[in-house]
Protein backbone atom coordinates (compact mmCIF):
# COMPACT_ATOMS: atom_id res chain seq x y z
CA UNK A 1 0.00 0.00 0.00
CA UNK A 2 1.41 3.37 -1.00
CA UNK A 3 1.26 5.90 1.81
CA UNK A 4 -0.12 8.79 -0.26
CA UNK A 5 -3.79 8.76 -1.17
CA UNK A 6 -4.59 9.60 -4.75
CA UNK A 7 -7.62 11.35 -6.27
CA UNK A 8 -9.42 9.66 -9.14
CA UNK A 9 -12.14 11.42 -11.04
CA UNK A 10 -15.31 9.39 -11.39
CA UNK A 11 -18.12 11.79 -12.35
CA UNK A 12 -21.04 9.43 -12.06
CA UNK A 13 -24.59 10.53 -11.58
CA UNK A 14 -25.99 8.77 -8.51
CA UNK A 15 -29.46 8.49 -10.05
CA UNK A 16 -28.17 7.49 -13.46
CA UNK A 17 -29.99 4.17 -13.46
CA UNK A 18 -33.29 5.90 -12.75
CA UNK A 19 -32.67 8.43 -15.51
CA UNK A 20 -31.79 5.71 -18.02
CA UNK A 21 -34.99 3.78 -17.21
CA UNK A 22 -37.06 6.98 -17.30
CA UNK A 23 -35.67 7.89 -20.71
CA UNK A 24 -36.52 4.43 -22.06
CA UNK A 25 -40.07 4.74 -20.72
CA UNK A 26 -40.47 8.21 -22.24
CA UNK A 27 -39.29 7.01 -25.62
CA UNK A 28 -41.66 4.06 -25.47
CA UNK A 29 -44.64 6.26 -24.52
CA UNK A 30 -43.84 8.68 -27.31
CA UNK A 31 -43.42 5.95 -29.89
CA UNK A 32 -46.84 4.57 -28.99
CA UNK A 33 -48.54 7.96 -28.86
CA UNK A 34 -49.29 7.71 -25.13
CA UNK A 35 -49.35 10.90 -23.08
CA UNK A 36 -47.93 10.00 -19.67
CA UNK A 37 -49.05 12.38 -16.92
CA UNK A 38 -47.84 12.17 -13.34
CA UNK A 39 -49.35 13.75 -10.25
CA UNK A 40 -47.45 14.86 -7.17
CA UNK A 41 -48.71 16.59 -4.04
CA UNK A 42 -48.76 16.35 -0.28
CA UNK A 43 -50.98 13.66 1.25
CA UNK A 44 -54.60 14.74 1.27
CA UNK A 45 -54.57 17.42 -1.39
CA UNK A 46 -57.00 15.50 -3.53
CA UNK A 47 -54.94 13.59 -6.10
CA UNK A 48 -57.15 10.52 -6.08
CA UNK A 49 -60.46 12.41 -6.26
CA UNK A 50 -59.10 14.59 -9.05
CA UNK A 51 -57.76 11.60 -10.95
CA UNK A 52 -60.96 9.60 -10.53
CA UNK A 53 -62.90 12.51 -12.00
CA UNK A 54 -60.38 12.93 -14.84
CA UNK A 55 -60.51 9.23 -15.76
CA UNK A 56 -64.31 9.26 -15.66
CA UNK A 57 -64.54 12.30 -17.93
CA UNK A 58 -61.92 11.10 -20.42
CA UNK A 59 -63.07 7.51 -20.66
CA UNK A 60 -65.96 7.91 -23.10
CA UNK A 61 -63.60 9.34 -25.71
CA UNK A 62 -60.14 8.05 -24.87
CA UNK A 63 -58.30 4.94 -23.80
CA UNK A 64 -56.99 5.71 -20.33
CA UNK A 65 -55.28 3.84 -17.50
CA UNK A 66 -53.65 4.70 -14.20
CA UNK A 67 -50.91 3.57 -11.88
CA UNK A 68 -51.12 4.65 -8.28
CA UNK A 69 -48.36 4.59 -5.68
CA UNK A 70 -48.90 4.28 -1.95
CA UNK A 71 -46.89 2.99 0.98
CA UNK A 72 -49.64 0.53 1.86
CA UNK A 73 -53.25 -0.45 1.05
CA UNK A 74 -55.01 -0.76 -2.28
CA UNK A 75 -57.65 1.81 -1.32
CA UNK A 76 -56.69 4.37 -3.93
CA UNK A 77 -56.63 1.80 -6.74
CA UNK A 78 -60.12 0.69 -5.70
CA UNK A 79 -61.36 4.28 -5.72
CA UNK A 80 -59.83 4.95 -9.14
CA UNK A 81 -61.23 1.70 -10.53
CA UNK A 82 -64.74 3.09 -9.96
CA UNK A 83 -64.11 5.21 -13.05
CA UNK A 84 -64.10 1.98 -15.08
CA UNK A 85 -60.52 2.55 -16.27
CA UNK A 86 -57.82 -0.12 -15.80
CA UNK A 87 -55.86 0.70 -12.65
CA UNK A 88 -52.85 -0.85 -10.97
CA UNK A 89 -51.62 -0.18 -7.46
CA UNK A 90 -47.90 0.08 -6.76
CA UNK A 91 -47.27 -0.54 -3.08
CA UNK A 92 -43.94 0.92 -2.11
CA UNK A 93 -43.70 -0.48 1.44
CA UNK A 94 -41.69 2.13 3.28
CA UNK A 95 -40.49 4.09 0.27
CA UNK A 96 -41.82 7.65 0.10
CA UNK A 97 -41.82 8.06 -3.69
CA UNK A 98 -42.07 6.19 -6.99
CA UNK A 99 -39.02 5.41 -9.11
CA UNK A 100 -38.82 4.74 -12.84
CA UNK A 101 -38.12 1.01 -12.41
CA UNK A 102 -41.36 0.62 -10.40
CA UNK A 103 -43.30 2.06 -13.32
CA UNK A 104 -41.49 -0.26 -15.69
CA UNK A 105 -42.22 -3.26 -13.48
CA UNK A 106 -45.88 -2.32 -13.05
CA UNK A 107 -46.29 -2.02 -16.81
CA UNK A 108 -44.66 -5.38 -17.42
CA UNK A 109 -47.24 -7.75 -18.83
CA UNK A 110 -49.82 -4.97 -19.00
CA UNK A 111 -50.57 -3.95 -22.53
CA UNK A 112 -50.63 -0.18 -22.47
CA UNK A 113 -49.50 0.36 -26.06
CA UNK A 114 -52.98 1.24 -27.26
CA UNK A 115 -53.56 3.88 -24.60
CA UNK A 116 -54.06 7.59 -25.22
CA UNK A 117 -53.32 8.58 -21.62
CA UNK A 118 -51.43 6.92 -18.82
CA UNK A 119 -51.70 8.60 -15.43
CA UNK A 120 -49.25 7.99 -12.61
CA UNK A 121 -50.26 9.09 -9.13
CA UNK A 122 -47.16 9.41 -6.98
CA UNK A 123 -47.00 8.78 -3.23
CA UNK A 124 -48.19 11.85 -1.30
CA UNK A 125 -44.94 13.72 -0.67
CA UNK A 126 -43.55 17.04 -1.84
CA UNK A 127 -39.88 16.27 -1.25
CA UNK A 128 -38.41 13.06 -2.66
CA UNK A 129 -40.54 12.71 -5.83
CA UNK A 130 -38.76 15.79 -7.18
CA UNK A 131 -35.51 13.82 -7.62
CA UNK A 132 -37.01 11.00 -9.68
CA UNK A 133 -37.89 11.26 -13.34
CA UNK A 134 -40.65 8.73 -14.11
CA UNK A 135 -40.59 9.09 -17.88
CA UNK A 136 -43.71 11.24 -17.85
CA UNK A 137 -44.33 13.99 -20.39
CA UNK A 138 -46.31 16.15 -18.07
CA UNK A 139 -45.91 16.51 -14.33
CA UNK A 140 -48.74 18.09 -12.39
CA UNK A 141 -48.17 19.41 -8.91
CA UNK A 142 -51.42 19.59 -6.95
CA UNK A 143 -52.07 21.94 -4.09
CA UNK A 144 -55.38 22.31 -2.31
CA UNK A 145 -56.71 25.66 -1.12
CA UNK A 146 -56.64 24.42 2.48
CA UNK A 147 -52.86 23.98 2.51
CA UNK A 148 -51.69 27.57 2.66
CA UNK A 149 -50.61 29.95 -0.06
CA UNK A 150 -46.93 29.77 0.92
CA UNK A 151 -46.48 26.09 0.10
CA UNK A 152 -44.63 26.78 -3.18
CA UNK A 153 -42.05 28.77 -1.19
CA UNK A 154 -41.65 25.92 1.29
CA UNK A 155 -41.22 23.27 -1.41
CA UNK A 156 -39.69 25.14 -4.36
CA UNK A 157 -37.89 22.11 -5.81
CA UNK A 158 -41.02 20.11 -6.54
CA UNK A 159 -42.63 23.14 -8.20
CA UNK A 160 -39.48 23.56 -10.22
CA UNK A 161 -39.68 20.03 -11.61
CA UNK A 162 -43.40 20.24 -12.45
CA UNK A 163 -45.02 21.61 -15.61
CA UNK A 164 -48.44 22.68 -14.39
CA UNK A 165 -49.79 23.64 -10.97
CA UNK A 166 -53.31 22.37 -10.25
CA UNK A 167 -55.09 24.12 -7.40
CA UNK A 168 -57.72 21.75 -6.03
CA UNK A 169 -60.76 22.05 -3.74
CA UNK A 170 -61.66 25.48 -5.09
CA UNK A 171 -65.18 24.88 -3.73
CA UNK A 172 -63.66 25.41 -0.26
CA UNK A 173 -61.81 28.62 -1.17
CA UNK A 174 -64.23 31.02 0.52
CA UNK A 175 -64.49 28.91 3.68
CA UNK A 176 -60.74 28.99 4.27
CA UNK A 177 -60.17 32.59 3.12
CA UNK A 178 -57.98 31.38 0.31
CA UNK A 179 -55.84 34.19 -1.11
CA UNK A 180 -55.69 33.46 -4.81
CA UNK A 181 -53.42 36.37 -5.66
CA UNK A 182 -50.83 35.44 -3.00
CA UNK A 183 -50.67 31.87 -4.27
CA UNK A 184 -50.29 33.00 -7.89
CA UNK A 185 -47.43 35.27 -6.86
CA UNK A 186 -45.67 32.54 -4.91
CA UNK A 187 -45.90 30.08 -7.79
CA UNK A 188 -44.65 32.74 -10.20
CA UNK A 189 -41.69 33.38 -7.87
CA UNK A 190 -40.52 29.76 -7.68
CA UNK A 191 -41.35 28.89 -11.29
CA UNK A 192 -41.87 31.88 -13.56
CA UNK A 193 -44.65 31.53 -16.16
CA UNK A 194 -45.87 28.23 -14.76
CA UNK A 195 -49.38 27.42 -15.93
CA UNK A 196 -51.87 27.41 -13.05
CA UNK A 197 -55.25 25.69 -13.23
CA UNK A 198 -57.84 26.16 -10.51
CA UNK A 199 -60.56 23.63 -10.13
CA UNK A 200 -62.80 21.50 -7.97
CA UNK A 201 -63.14 17.82 -8.78
CA UNK A 202 -66.19 17.76 -6.53
CA UNK A 203 -68.24 20.43 -8.28
CA UNK A 204 -66.55 20.01 -11.66
CA UNK A 205 -65.55 23.70 -11.77
CA UNK A 206 -62.44 24.17 -13.93
CA UNK A 207 -62.25 20.50 -14.95
CA UNK A 208 -63.03 21.26 -18.58
CA UNK A 209 -60.18 23.69 -18.92
CA UNK A 210 -57.87 20.99 -17.59
CA UNK A 211 -59.27 18.38 -19.97
CA UNK A 212 -58.91 20.76 -22.91
CA UNK A 213 -55.27 21.25 -21.98
CA UNK A 214 -54.73 17.46 -21.84
CA UNK A 215 -56.46 16.87 -25.15
CA UNK A 216 -54.40 19.54 -26.87
CA UNK A 217 -51.22 17.99 -25.55
CA UNK A 218 -52.33 14.54 -26.64
CA UNK A 219 -52.94 15.79 -30.16
CA UNK A 220 -49.68 17.71 -30.36
CA UNK A 221 -47.52 14.79 -29.28
CA UNK A 222 -44.57 14.17 -29.14
CA UNK A 223 -43.60 17.77 -28.23
CA UNK A 224 -46.03 17.48 -25.34
CA UNK A 225 -44.42 19.15 -22.35
CA UNK A 226 -43.12 22.15 -24.23
CA UNK A 227 -46.55 22.97 -25.59
CA UNK A 228 -47.97 23.82 -22.14
Amino acid sequence: MSPEPRMVEVRKNVLKQNDVTARALREHFRAKGILAVSLVSSPGSGKTTFLEKTLTLLRPQYRVAALVGDLATENDAQRLARSGAPVKQITTGTLCHLEANMIQKALDGWNVDKLDFLFVENVGNLVCPSSYDLGEDLRLVLLSVTEGEDKPLKYPTIFNTADVAVITKMDLAAAVDFNEHALDQNIEAVRPRMRILKLSAKTGEGMHEFLDCLQKLQRSRPQAASAV
Binding site: M1, S2, P3, E4, P5, R6, M7, V8, E9, V10, R11, K12, N13, V14, L15, V127, C128, S130, S131, L153, P156, T157, I158, N160, T161, E188, A189, V190, R191, P192, R193, M194
Partner: protein, 103 residues
Protein backbone atom coordinates in the same frame (compact mmCIF):
# COMPACT_ATOMS: atom_id res chain seq x y z
CA UNK B 1 -21.32 2.86 -6.96
CA UNK B 2 -18.10 3.80 -5.14
CA UNK B 3 -17.74 0.16 -4.13
CA UNK B 4 -17.94 -0.91 -7.77
CA UNK B 5 -15.27 1.61 -8.66
CA UNK B 6 -13.03 0.24 -5.91
CA UNK B 7 -13.44 -3.29 -7.24
CA UNK B 8 -12.78 -2.13 -10.79
CA UNK B 9 -9.49 -0.70 -9.69
CA UNK B 10 -8.40 -3.90 -7.97
CA UNK B 11 -9.91 -3.51 -4.51
CA UNK B 12 -8.18 -0.32 -3.53
CA UNK B 13 -9.02 1.32 -0.24
CA UNK B 14 -11.35 4.30 -0.56
CA UNK B 15 -10.60 7.02 1.94
CA UNK B 16 -13.04 9.62 0.77
CA UNK B 17 -15.91 10.11 -1.63
CA UNK B 18 -16.34 13.54 -3.18
CA UNK B 19 -19.92 14.30 -4.06
CA UNK B 20 -21.45 17.24 -5.90
CA UNK B 21 -24.85 18.14 -4.59
CA UNK B 22 -27.02 20.67 -6.38
CA UNK B 23 -29.35 22.76 -4.27
CA UNK B 24 -32.18 21.72 -6.60
CA UNK B 25 -31.38 17.99 -6.47
CA UNK B 26 -34.08 17.38 -3.87
CA UNK B 27 -31.52 15.76 -1.58
CA UNK B 28 -30.68 17.21 1.82
CA UNK B 29 -27.04 17.32 2.81
CA UNK B 30 -27.48 16.36 6.46
CA UNK B 31 -29.80 13.47 5.66
CA UNK B 32 -27.35 12.23 3.06
CA UNK B 33 -24.51 12.38 5.56
CA UNK B 34 -26.25 10.28 8.18
CA UNK B 35 -27.49 7.73 5.67
CA UNK B 36 -24.03 7.52 4.12
CA UNK B 37 -22.54 6.33 7.37
CA UNK B 38 -25.21 3.68 7.77
CA UNK B 39 -24.96 2.53 4.17
CA UNK B 40 -21.18 2.15 4.44
CA UNK B 41 -21.19 -0.09 7.50
CA UNK B 42 -19.69 -3.52 6.77
CA UNK B 43 -18.70 -2.49 3.23
CA UNK B 44 -15.32 -1.49 1.80
CA UNK B 45 -16.40 2.09 2.38
CA UNK B 46 -16.66 1.74 6.13
CA UNK B 47 -14.75 4.58 7.76
CA UNK B 48 -14.50 6.61 4.55
CA UNK B 49 -15.31 10.30 4.54
CA UNK B 50 -18.05 11.88 2.49
CA UNK B 51 -17.04 15.27 1.18
CA UNK B 52 -19.98 17.23 -0.16
CA UNK B 53 -19.57 20.18 -2.46
CA UNK B 54 -22.80 22.12 -2.67
CA UNK B 55 -23.60 23.49 -6.10
CA UNK B 56 -25.60 26.71 -6.22
CA UNK B 57 -28.42 27.13 -8.69
CA UNK B 58 -27.59 28.99 -11.86
CA UNK B 59 -29.97 29.97 -14.62
CA UNK B 60 -29.59 31.31 -18.11
CA UNK B 61 -30.65 34.94 -18.06
CA UNK B 62 -32.15 36.04 -21.37
CA UNK B 63 -31.58 39.67 -20.47
CA UNK B 64 -27.89 39.37 -19.48
CA UNK B 65 -27.46 36.72 -22.19
CA UNK B 66 -25.34 34.63 -19.90
CA UNK B 67 -25.35 32.16 -17.03
CA UNK B 68 -26.19 33.84 -13.72
CA UNK B 69 -26.83 32.74 -10.13
CA UNK B 70 -30.47 32.64 -9.15
CA UNK B 71 -31.71 35.18 -6.59
CA UNK B 72 -32.90 32.31 -4.37
CA UNK B 73 -34.76 29.08 -4.96
CA UNK B 74 -37.84 30.86 -3.61
CA UNK B 75 -37.39 33.64 -6.11
CA UNK B 76 -36.37 32.25 -9.47
CA UNK B 77 -34.87 35.22 -11.22
CA UNK B 78 -31.45 36.53 -12.18
CA UNK B 79 -29.48 37.73 -9.16
CA UNK B 80 -28.02 40.54 -11.26
CA UNK B 81 -30.93 42.05 -13.13
CA UNK B 82 -34.03 40.38 -11.69
CA UNK B 83 -35.31 38.87 -14.94
CA UNK B 84 -37.33 35.69 -14.22
CA UNK B 85 -36.00 32.52 -15.80
CA UNK B 86 -36.77 28.83 -15.67
CA UNK B 87 -33.80 27.62 -17.62
CA UNK B 88 -31.72 25.85 -14.98
CA UNK B 89 -28.11 25.44 -16.06
CA UNK B 90 -26.63 24.21 -12.80
CA UNK B 91 -27.87 23.03 -9.44
CA UNK B 92 -29.57 19.69 -10.12
CA UNK B 93 -26.42 17.60 -9.67
CA UNK B 94 -26.22 14.51 -7.50
CA UNK B 95 -22.92 13.18 -8.67
CA UNK B 96 -20.01 11.16 -7.32
CA UNK B 97 -17.28 13.40 -8.59
CA UNK B 98 -14.08 11.79 -7.34
CA UNK B 99 -12.67 9.18 -5.00
CA UNK B 100 -9.63 9.43 -2.78
CA UNK B 101 -7.97 6.05 -2.91
CA UNK B 102 -4.99 4.34 -1.42
CA UNK B 103 -3.53 1.46 -3.40
Amino acid sequence: MAQEEAELRGNVHIQAVHLRLGLLSGVVKDALRSSYEMACETTVLEGSRLIIEEIPVEIYCANCRTQRPVHSIQYFCCAECGTPSTEVVRGKELEVFALEIRE
